[in-house]
């Protein structure tokens, strides 16, 4: 089973120490929420796990093999990523952007095959983007661009997804659709690590919540155990009454 295992990740930017010995695991078939304050280093940690940013020390292994030793295209078939913000200098259509997700599966300049077109369509359906898939990305709203970016990650058919704030800019309906999608993905054996600030919305649907605080993971447990009132106070500086009971067991969206 594919697993992404980070051990002892340390990383500084200038004199600021961002990650000070992070241990974190992501296995296929589980949904993990990475939470913490703004600037806690969540996005940096995701990039380290993706391999696009190198840690000063520590190891990241994918399937028991050093992440940096993976050939790029093979790695891209295992881990997909959605950055926090899109930025498109050119007016690609949504469908063209999603089709880029098939690059790791195609030879150098091979056009998409039937199987790729099906994967692209499935990804567009999964995020509810079929209606605006053929519009230029410049004409799409922030939330629509977000869904296109998520669809691109889905189109790779990777077993592990790293999503940086996938719910930002999404309206309630599509945020709910996204958390449902997380559940479906888990059902298909996909592992998802996501960051989000809306704990109420996302945490109940996660298998684990990892809290990043002061450069370390200070809790990594099932949501109800990880998000205690005491921890919410230390990590977010917010007094939450009965934080553990915040998510009723029968909570359903």
């Amino acid at each position: 089973m594919t697993a992404l295992v980070a051990k002892g990740i340390e990383l500084s930017r200038g004199s600021r120490r961002i990650l000070a010995g992070v241990d974190l695991q992501l296995r296929a078939g589980e949904v993990v929420l990475l939470a913490g304050r703004n600037g806690a280093g969540k996005s940096t940690l995701l990039r380290v796990l993706l391999g696009s940013e190198r840690a000063a020390s520590g190891t990241v292994q994918l399937g028991g093999r050093d992440l940096a030793a993976w050939p790029p295209r093979e790695r891209a078939r295992e881990i997909a990523y959605v950055p926090q913000e899109g930025d498109h200098p050119f007016e690609f259509t949504g469908r063209e952007l999603v089709a880029m997700g098939r690059h790791p599966h195609l030879h150098r300049d091979q056009p998409p095959q039937l199987r790729d077109l099906e994967a692209i369509e499935r990804a567009l359906v999964a995020v509810g983007a079929t209606d605006f898939a053929d519009r230029s990305v410049a004409t799409l709203s922030g939330g629509e661009q977000r869904r296109i970016a998520i669809a691109r990650a889905l189109a790779t058919e990777a077993k592990l997804l790293l999503l940086d704030e996938p719910t930002s800019n999404l309206d309630l309906e599509h945020a709910l659709q996204l958390v449902h999608m997380l559940r479906d993905l888990r059902g298909c054996g996909v592992g998802v690590l996501l960051t989000a600030h809306d704990l109420n919305l996302v945490a109940p649907h996660c298998d684990r919540v990892a809290l990043l605080h002061d450069g370390r993971i200070c809790a990594d447990d099932v949501p109800t155990s990880a998000l205690t009132a005491e921890r919410v106070l230390t990590v977010f500086g917010v007094r939450a009454e009965h934080a553990a009971g915040y998510f009723p067991r029968d909570f359903r969206l």
Binding site: P72, E74, R75, A76, Y81, P89, E96, M100, A153, T156
Partner: protein, 331 residues
Amino acid sequence: MQRHRLPLALVGLAALAIVYLGVARGAPGLLELPSWCLGDLHPRLAYILEQIRAPRLLVAAAGGASLALAGAIMQATFRNPLASPDLVGTAAGAALGGALAIVWKLDGALLAVPAASLLGAMAVTALVFVLAGAHGRFSATGLLLAGVALNTLVGALTSFAVTFTFDNYTASSRVLFWLMGGLDSSKWENVAITGGGLLLFGGLALRRRRELDLLTLRDDSAFSLGVDGPRARRWLLLLACGLTATTVANTGGIAFVGLVVPHLTRLLVGPSHRALLPLSAVFGAMLLVLADLICRLVPPDTNLRLGVVTTMLGAPYFLYLLARHRRGEVL
């Protein structure tokens, strides 16, 4: 229609080529082309077609295609629709290299000017790349700023090099005419260099069309899809340098083709490089053939230079872009 775009554009280019060969201030004219094809044209007229107009046509077409491809590649690698061999300094570097080769009287050797141009183009592009990317991540703004700085510096160095030729009128006029851009002295060996550069570097670039698409994304996104952004950029910029240098070495300074053509083509067919690269090449060829046709048709004593014509076409395009920008549209 989408399927037929490239064949249609090629038909357009072929038609333009026939007009180019047959329309001139002197004989042979269009009506003599059929007899040329049949081989019973007067040898003197056939010589004009075969040794003067045909090589000039092919250098214009290959050069225009190369510059347009170089522009399309640079716009994707710099993630900026305004990047082009002119703005980044690649063309200026190629011009400096070529000018130095002429000033130092190396231009007797067949490949001296193209080789010097390639070195100049690569040196300036590499310097811009390092200057902009020295501190961590690649920044498009940084690249363009470095390009502007280097462009100015290299332009000054080129002028400085030219002043060394002032004691020799023939040499200095040769350098200056070359710098202004022109195809008058195009021979079959120039066709071989420009065309060879187009086939080699353009062919390699065509195989990386989807990679170019991916490079327009943020580096992290491209990385997650299996593309090592910085490495792919270096390789593609090398190809753009090759395309620019093999053209500039034969045509001298020809501005704006690399900026305007990919930009207009993108408005027509969208940003995906699968269609954008081949069509930009054909449109670039058409633009330069047309511009050179204009040069040939004006009275000879005005001595209108090709680089001047393309600049006159390019400068208004910037104003058009400015208008678009003011309306809040994507460039």
